[in-house]
Subunit: 392 residues, 2 copies
């Protein structure tokens, strides 16, 4: 186990009806003039917005709304939010929705007190030193942004999907009501489950030794998601399954299962190119990339992949041929994604083999573009090969 | 899963050498005049105190020491610390040691700004509304107080071992260096492992339904401790085992595995009487009480005890006779405690069957003395029976 710092100071209020505490919690964490950041309108249709608005009204808190954040959230909306906060002298950001609304709020938060262009923080030109407080009411479990230190924004010009990670941007509080996830389309529920599982896998596949405890925590979360996701899809109103998924999504990304180990993140990097090029759902892109990445790298540590197969999917260990067990685990993961209705090939998300060189070139534009990943270092040729494995 | 709030804002710095950051961290969390609270002197012998003192000196932070906190920490030492902080105008508490030093610091923290007797907080006469900031450098993993909202103090008069629980007293930061646990006597290592396992079991045995995720987390922690504790005892310098135990001890009690479920805590309540009467190590008392409590209550939910046996100890499920599996799990737990060198009967900790009525009467003095526990409500007759099961 490596030395580590762990800091997850977010106050979580979890369960049905907790959104009624929004006013009390905004007050407790120092807000009085709030920008509510929302997406395409589902939070108006499912009643979440009204419940929060009533709660803020009761607490005497002024609020305005910035709506229309889209999936793979764009820098243009961040600029709009920064302008609005400055003009109206707003002092608190409350994201209502999923990862896109939250990440937009986080980016606005660090952008408001900064004199320069907020994008500087994403291209490593500057480090934020101040932020407006950010809080969330989560209605889509997937990204884990409600408890994480990360934020991913896509720059409209060039479709650069880049990220910023630091403790400063962890939400002050997050309200998680699983009931709001019951009205999600099955595709989005499945996509969220894949995203969570990928957040765990990115941490699980490591070269750090002596990681018994965090291995067990990763496996516990993966098994829970594997049990809960099909139930939530079969019966959208299965509250217990929704609740397990929602809390697992938070734990998958607040780093409780990733501390003390070098993490990988290669699949996420490749997926960011996919969603840049084809605007696919992040989880759908990950369902395609993750098993292909695994097939490309598993020989690097067959034992770890066999452990994954046995402990996560309950495969029987093949002591004569551990590689067979390792491969069985990868195959089980791909079948699981498919069983959730997820795409598992380039063709199924509308991606094209002939675009692979352009995606590799686009990736190379990023600061420290290549190599990426830590379990196995991914160079341009490796990324090309992994993308080809997605085309079968 | 029940609705819940979860808040674990402590900043954790984990690993070898992290104590050198004490000065930086005290500064970051607003301290300038520090009371260092220590126990019987081990932190002077193992170098921890000197490393911390140097770090505070470098950061220009003034400090004084309150030493001599004993196991099952006493109210008299708390009064002494409150006096000292007031007299010397100290503004920050840094506990260096294990749960006793930390709980003493927590009690001093809420006592200093309070006009009345700090014991009011323990007998539910008042709720603390302010505290001096408390931080810890952990050198003994067991109590989990470094990340928890709880504090247990024994009042000298009457040997009342009572507790206080609230988020206000969670440490600002905790430094955990597993190396300092390498010099612990085997008995104390074992005792710590039992304490952690008990913190998890108190959460695991619940009547709350739909707790799949937290069940898995509890099981992950228990399996890790079961693997790591014998290794740490066989080779005291096994850093990986020490590190797993140390972080597991924190997770066992910061409530990450207990959220959304009604917890039990009956074994702890009974053990508090044992350590009041015989001043035994808390973990040793728990090793005696916990399996006896299990034998007394398991029929209440045989399925849950069978799950415990199968998932935690790898017992094979007896589908014809699940009760046999349930009992096998309890037996395996007792054998595990014994294999660590722990007592498992009253006689082995010097407790006497004839004292049982006095212990039950002493318990009855507590605010809300009976019934206690939630998985099964424990009335005086039940406590008597559980204690008798400890006498075999």
């Amino acid at each position: 186990m490596d030395n580590f710092d762990f800091y997850s100071p977010t106050y979580f209020a979890f369960g049905d009806g907790q959104e009624k505490r929004a006013g009390e919690l905004v007050r407790r964490f120092g807000g009085s003039r709030v920008l509510i950041v929302t997406g395409g309108g589902s939070v108006h249709r499912n009643g979440a917005f009204d419940a929060i608005a009533s709660s803020l009204d009761e607490a005497g808190i002024l609020y305005m709304e910035l709506s229309g954040v889209q999936p793979n959230p764009r820098s243009s909306k961040v600029y709009e939010g920064i302008e609005l906060c400055r003009r109206e002298n707003l002092d608190f950001l409350l994201a209502v929705g999923g990862g896109s609304a939250i990440d937009t709020a986080k980016a606005i938060g660090v952008g408001v007190p900064y004199q320069g262009d907020f994008w500087d923080f994403f291209c490593a030109k500057a480090q934020p030193t101040a932020t407006l407080p950010v809080a969330t009411v989560l209605t889509i479990s997937a990204a884990g942004s409600e408890g994480s230190n990360s934020c991913v924004i896509t720059k409209d010009e060039g479709m650069l999907k880049w990220s910023m990670n630091l403790d400063l941007i962890r939400p002050k509080f997050s309200i998680l009501n699983p009931k709001y996830t019951c009205t999600l389309p099955a595709y989005q529920t499945a996509s969220g489950a894949v995203d969570m599982m990928s957040h765990i896998c990115e941490r699980y596949f490591t070269n750090t030794t002596d990681v018994a405890l965090t291995d067990r925590l990763c496996e516990a979360l993966l098994r829970t998601i594997i049990e809960a996701a099909p139930r939530a899809i079969a019966d959208p109103n299965d509250y217990a399954a929704r609740a397990d998924l929602m809390w697992a999504g938070m734990l998958a990304h607040n780093n409780s299962c990733g501390i003390g180990r070098v993490q990988d993140w290669a699949s996420h990097q490749i997926e960011h190119e996919l969603s840049s090029f084809y605007d696919c759902a992040h989880g759908a892109g990950l369902a395609v990339v993750t098993p292909a990445w695994m097939e490309y790298v598993y020989r690097h540590d067959i034992t770890r992949f066999a452990q994954f197969a046995v402990r996560v999917f309950g495969c029987e260990m093949n002591f004569v041929n551990p590689e067979a067990t390792a491969l069985e685990g990868i195959q089980r993961l791909r079948e699981f994604f498919r069983s959730l209705g997820m795409p598992v090939t380039f063709a199924e998300i509308g991606a094209k083999a002939e675009d692979i060189p352009d995606m590799v070139a686009h990736r190379a534009q990023k600061p420290n573009g290549f190599p990426f990943g830590n379990f196995v270092k991914i160079h341009p040729d490796d990324m090309t090969e992994i993308c080809r494995l997605c085309c079968r």
